[in-house]
């Protein structure tokens, strides 16, 4: 890589209005400016309806922005989508029930025209990464929710995109599994050095995972705070460390200040 300082994601003056000009017009996000540097782990947090998911979908070019510009790896977001610059994981694992675990991981490679042997090799490698190497030939319904999420992460990473977009991927998991998955994601991040943009509504999750927590406010969705997390290496003790709780408090206060409180 060259040494040019080009952010992985550059969002400038972006707004998204649904149903423009109709009675049910909704200003989902407004006036967003944000730069995410390459290799960083950034969380978007905010109350329900603050447009955090919308912002992620704008970056993914799954919906067009009403105003402003988004660049991913220096390219317009739409071009980045066509170039497959990012992988995506949703709250529902979105695995195809008619494909085995390994076939699900192979799906994007299949679409990209890889040969069967190459696909198999890469998919097996990815399943090892998420520690599901033994479950290649299972069908999704035979796996637990946490395992399904790991498959969907393996699928998102299979074609080695530089950017990973995650939309509340652990929202449907129980607390124990969730903490376990957080450790796994950090492990993957450390191993692969991807840029990760992570949408969540859990404050501890955002703090534990990220280097930076972007706090959003609702209706219309705006950036309320940009908090740098400095709590050192994540270990089991991190979750019980005072610095961890201090940062959680900081995020909580940022959220509360900007909420339209009664």
């Amino acid at each position: 890589m060259t040494a040019t300082v080009q952010p992985a994601v550059q969002i400038s003056g972006v707004s998204k209005i649904f149903n423009l000009g109709k009675p049910n017009e909704v200003r989902a996000v407004e006036g967003i400016n944000l730069a995410i540097s390459e290799g960083s782990f950034v969380s978007l947090i905010g109350p329900s309806g603050c447009g955090k998911s919308t912002l992620l979908r704008l970056v993914a070019a799954l919906t067009p922005a009403s105003d402003g510009e988004i660049f991913v790896n220096g390219k317009p977001a739409e071009q980045a989508r066509l170039d497959r610059d990012y992988g995506m994981a949703f709250q529902t694992s979105g695995l195809f029930g008619w494909r085995t675990v390994i076939q699900n991981v192979e799906l994007p490679l299949h679409l990209m025209g890889w040969s069967k042997a190459e696909r198999r090799e890469r998919a097996a490698e990815m399943l090892e990464l998420v520690k599901l190497g033994d479950f290649a030939d299972y069908y999704p319904r035979e796996l637990s929710g946490g395992m399904q999420q790991r498959v969907s992460i393996a699928r998102a990473l299979s074609f080695r995109p530089s950017l990973l977009l995650m939309d509340e991927p652990f929202g449907a998991l129980d607390e124990m599994t969730r903490e376990h998955m957080q450790t796994e994601v950090l492990d993957i991040w450390n191993k692969t050095g991807k840029t990760i943009v992570f949408v969540t509504h859990s404050i501890p999750e955002a703090v534990f995972l990220s280097q930076r927590v972007i706090v959003m406010s609702a209706r219309p969705g705006r950036l309320a705070a940009d908090i740098t997390v400095d709590i050192g290496d994540r270990t089991f003790e991190t979750r019980e460390a005072p610095r961890f709780f201090d940062t959680i408090t900081q995020v909580r206060e940022a959220l509360r200040n900007k909420e339209p409180s009664a």
Binding site: L82, R84, G94, F96, G97, L107, Y139
Partner: protein
């Protein structure tokens, strides 16, 4: 790894065992119902004859309900025995052989009609998926096509078939026209369920495909078509029996010999000389319908058993 393979083998063995148990149970239930229906048939006959013989005034029988004489309702035993008797004086060939031969002829017509109907139906579904404009324009005609009596179009199709299919690379024979008639009953349910199935793909999965910059064709093949399979199989079951009905009706009204339709027509015209023959042949047609239905159900089970949506029940 070995333990996992062992587990997998044990599971598949259990699954096979469960499937066999399920089939055996179904066969037993079928037999119970067969016996029950036979008893009901014979019981009604005995009961009806008794009151007939005693000259009690029961105007229902012979008016609203069928007469109980042997001409109207041949005894069950006669119908079963008829399968083994030769229907023609100059030949030893038993009726069952005639029925099997005719049934396989009809099955071929119905089979091609079914396949053609599936291709046509899925084609229509895909076109309608692509263009809501075409969907709105074509839908009323599809519905109208199903209200036209089959008896009316059958002769037309047979005449068209023999007059204007000369351009085909193979010789057009009359059973092919019957297949077209069978197609008429099969494409509609496939098209209707097909479009529903194609639209049933999870919106999140559609978005995922978009995130992979998947082309429309790739999304269709990798996501929408597989998602439509459970819906389409439901249509295949209707279409399978429909194809048999279409073929039999097509043979009768198109005057095409060789199949069950012609056999039924023959025995119906000579009904008074041997009522059990017609009954036996109609039973043969029913069995053919069941066979067609069962084939689709087995195919469905094999295809869907690994999926969440898969179920044993038809």
């Amino acid at each position: 790894m070995t333990t996992r393979d062992e587990v997998a083998r044990a599971v598949s063995k259990l699954e096979r065992k469960a499937a066999m148990k399920w089939s055996a149970r179904r066969a037993v239930i079928f037999l119970i119902f067969f016996v029950a229906i036979s008893f009901a048939y014979s019981g009604y006959k005995t009961f009806g004859r008794a009151i007939d013989d005693s000259q009690t005034k029961w105007p229902v029988i012979g008016r609203a309900l069928p007469r109980t004489d042997d001409l109207t309702m041949p005894p069950m035993s006669d119908i079963i025995a008829e399968f083994g008797k030769p229907p023609q004086r100059n030949s030893d060939k038993p009726l069952v052989a005639f029925i099997v031969q005719a049934a396989s002829f009809t099955f071929r017509e119905a089979g091609f009609g079914f396949l053609l109907g599936v291709i046509l139906g899925m084609g229509i579904a895909i076109v309608m998926l692509r263009s809501p404009w075409i969907e709105r324009g074509v839908s009323p005609y599809l519905v109208a096509s199903q209200t036209v009596p089959l008896v009316a179009i059958a002769p037309i199709v047979v005449i068209w078939g023999s007059n204007s299919m000369g351009w085909l690379p193979f010789e057009w024979t009359r059973w092919m026209s019957v297949s077209i008639i069978a197609t008429f009953l099969t494409f509609f349910p496939v098209a209707m369920n097909g479009i529903r199935g194609l639209l049933s793909a999870d919106p999140a999965a559609m978005e995922l495909m978009r995130s992979y910059a998947s082309t429309r064709r790739q999304t269709l093949i990798r996501l929408q078509l597989p998602a439509s399979v459970p819906y389409v199989f439901a249509a295949f079951k209707i279409a399978a029996t429909g194809a048999i009905v279409g073929a039999v009706v097509g043979e009768i009204s198109g005057g095409v010999p060789g199949g069950l339709g012609r056999l039924i027509l023959d025995f119906a015209s000579r009904y008074t000389t041997g009522p059990p023959r017609l009954y036996a042949t109609v039973a043969g047609a029913a069995v053919l319908g069941i066979v067609a239905f069962a084939l689709v159900t087995i195919a469905e089970f094999v295809t869907l058993s690994k999926r969440k949506e898969g179920s044993l029940a038809p």
